[in-house]
């Protein structure tokens, strides 16, 4: 029961209180890009969650070894990158060789696996000293947080594209930056951040 609670609490925290995309900017470029294709949200949520869970679980196991405690952070980061690379190449090779996946699907897989959001999860798990169940929860939460951010950006960008009142010079990317800033501000409210002072 405690394991399940840990997992769910960490997942919820990662999605809402600490939405890594909107409150930390992790994977933001990819979220903006994916936001233009609502049909791919489910696929991305699954892939990002999958890669985050597997990578962070393996990294948690590696972190549990005694020698890791004394490792310089650079070595730890290299190990995490190696784990992510290993997981990606195994999944991509299996999909390519056994399921005959197309280049398009593998391209999507690459974007879902090799981004700052997925690569950060093991680092966060380590620095926040999450339990094993918590590490899995944060991996699942990362995928959901990504899709939540992409869906919110999608919703706003449609409105921005239709809005004729926006001055010409602010149309396009400037308006998008302001909109994402407002979303980010909303999530900053969950973390009790000090804005003025």
């Amino acid at each position: 029961m405690r394991i399940l609670t840990d997992l769910l609490m960490t997942a919820l925290y990662t999605v809402f209180a600490q939405n890594l995309v909107l409150s930390s900017g992790l994977g933001m470029s990819e979220a903006i890009r994916v936001s233009t294709k609502p049909g791919t949200f489910g696929k991305f949520a699954l892939m990002i969650s999958g890669f985050s869970v597997v990578t962070s679980t393996l990294c948690s196991l590696i972190d549990s070894f005694k020698p890791m405690e004394a490792m310089p952070y650079a070595v730890r980061a290299a190990i995490y990158a190696g784990v992510l690379a290993g997981v990606y190449i195994i999944v991509a090779a299996v999909m390519r060789l056994f399921f005959g996946s197309s280049a398009k699907i593998l391209g999507t897989l690459g974007i879902a696996a090799l981004n700052t959001l997925v690569f950060t999860i093991p680092h966060i798990n380590n620095s926040a000293a999450y339990s094993f169940a918590g590490s899995i929860g944060s991996g699942i939460g990362a995928g959901i947080a990504f899709v939540l951010a992409a869906a919110l950006i999608n919703s706003g960008s449609r409105k921005l594209a239709e809005n004729e009142d926006i001055p010409e010079i602010f149309k396009g990317t400037p308006a998008m930056f302001f909109y994402v800033a407002m979303l980010s501000l909303a999530f900053a409210g969950f973390t009790d951040s000090n804005i003025f002072g």
Binding site: S29, T36, A81, N115, A181, S193
Partner: protein, 284 residues
Amino acid sequence: MSNNISFKDVFIKGAVIYNPVLIQLVGLCPVVAASTTFARAAMLSVVLCVELIVTCTVASALFKKIPRWVRVLLYLIIGTAIICPLLWYIESFSLINLSLGMKIYIPLIAVNSMTAVHCEQFSVKNSVKLSLYDAAAAGFGASIIILIVGAVRELLANSAIGGMPVNLPITFKGMALPFGCLILLGFMAAGLKAFVARMYPQNSADEEPVVSEVFADENSEVTEVEIFDEFWAEPQPEEVPEVPMSVPEKTSVKPAEPSFSTAEEIDELLKSLGIDIDIKGDKQ
């Protein structure tokens, strides 16, 4: 044709007209999350430039025949091979007092979308020399933005620049948060847009795409790399023209309309859920 292109041409396109951060919206993570002071911004800029230049050059020299799904992994490996020894060197010799945040954010540059975009859109389709130019231009363009953002955020949030106190009547701590950075980037993007419209009108004005088209993906009808190709690149028939992220195609832009081809899909989805909201705006 590659030999006819000057560094100036590549530089203006890569650093200004298609600035990676403000126009292409790639590599936002280090800018938004980590560039909270000028010193941190400077460190990120150096690491980003080194990583981008080395990876793009190697990609251009060696990766043209390798499938894309393997190439994207190689970018991570090269990035890690550059960044981790650098981080280890800084840590071991205590050159700079790195916070835990910076220790986390610096390795993230290895999976930076900017590297993947420039390698895929340009480096694997062009000569080593041009790739070097492009990477240097993109790195410079991104670095300038990161440095400005770092300086302004430090000034407004901490009343200091480069660690030196500056007397400001008020501070705005929110600038240290991502949303403060994004607002700043919004104004900078508008400024750059105005600058490009004035200085390079053939590349801006009503030809600027809506954001969704900047990020049209491989399933989209918008083809990739046209803007780069028409100016620099030679066609490479053996290459499968797929890239992780696309730059806008000038001729397909319809700024007044949302470019989402999925409005119908959303309408259908909502109908199937029993919700009668008209996304397309057909029902009046």
